[in-house]
């Protein structure tokens, strides 16, 4: 597999669910120097800002979303002492309790893995063009629809 193909697997926006174990193994296999792996898994909760939520639909800007996620991975690899960072975000309708987003950071030691993982999810939420439509008993609401 070419480097470009490998990098494409390390940053993905996809409709289907992902296996956390398989993604951990993808990161683990990148370097034998990895001694600490930190994971953030975002899942769909049934409540938001006082409203019940039945399910959530994620919409993304195809092309720009992937580009921003690649940027986050590249900056994390440059700014933290880590060996690999993987980001997978789902789009489409997601049922309560299901996986939404996964970040995995692999480093020699845990401290940098934790730091990179936290930075990456915070940054993802700031700069990635992904929108969340909550389906509630009283209708659909785009999150932050009432700025």
């Amino acid at each position: 597999m070419s480097t470009a193909e490998q990098n494409d697997l390390l940053v993905r926006v996809q409709r289907e669910n992902f296996s956390v174990d398989a993604e951990i193994n993808r990161v683990r296999s990148r370097s034998k120097r990895i001694g600490g792996i930190s994971i953030f898994l975002g899942t769909a909760r049934d409540h938001s800002k006082g409203r019940d939520v039945d399910s959530i639909t994620f919409e993304h800007y195809e092309g720009m979303a992937q580009r921003k996620l690649r940027e986050i991975r590249e900056r994390a690899l440059k700014d933290f002492d880590i060996l690999e960072l993987l980001i997978v975000h789902r789009h489409g309708e997601i049922a309560i309790g299901e996986n939404i987003v996964l970040i995995i950071a692999g480093a020699e030691h845990r401290a940098e893995a934790f730091r990179a993982c936290k930075w990456a999810i915070d940054e993802l939420k700031q700069i990635t063009p992904i929108w969340k439509l909550e389906h509630t008993p009283s209708g659909e609401v785009w999150v932050e629809e009432h700025p």
Binding site: F58, E59, Y61, G63, M64, R67, L124, K125, Q126, I127, T128, P129, I130, W131, K132, L133, W142, V143, E144, E145, P147
Partner: protein
């Protein structure tokens, strides 16, 4: 509009709801125009969207990068209106 051309503006999230659920807008734009002119056209047709752009709640992107009001718009550019992202606050500037 003899010198004009049609540009397409992609819509996402709540901007689609505010524009009668269209996925994009087609606007007639003159030559040598900038994001500011695009926003004026959007504002004429959908004042609610225009207001949110002026309030910096909706960002404008050109070729998948956040643009400013003086960013030039050229033939073939990919323009989009980006409402607040799911994660919360937005990065800096805007049109």
């Amino acid at each position: 509009m003899s010198e004009g051309r049609m540009i397409t503006v992609k819509l996402f999230g709540m901007t689609k709801s505010l524009a009668d659920n269209q996925a994009s807008l087609t606007l007639a734009l003159g030559k040598h125009q900038s994001v500011k002119n695009v926003v004026e056209l959007v504002n004429k047709r959908y004042p609610k969207i225009g207001e949110l752009i002026y309030k910096k709640k909706i960002l404008v992107s050109v070729n998948q990068e956040i643009a400013h009001e003086d960013t030039k718009v050229q033939d073939g550019d990919e323009i989009a209106l980006l409402p607040p992202f799911a994660g919360g606050s937005l990065e800096g500037g805007v049109a």
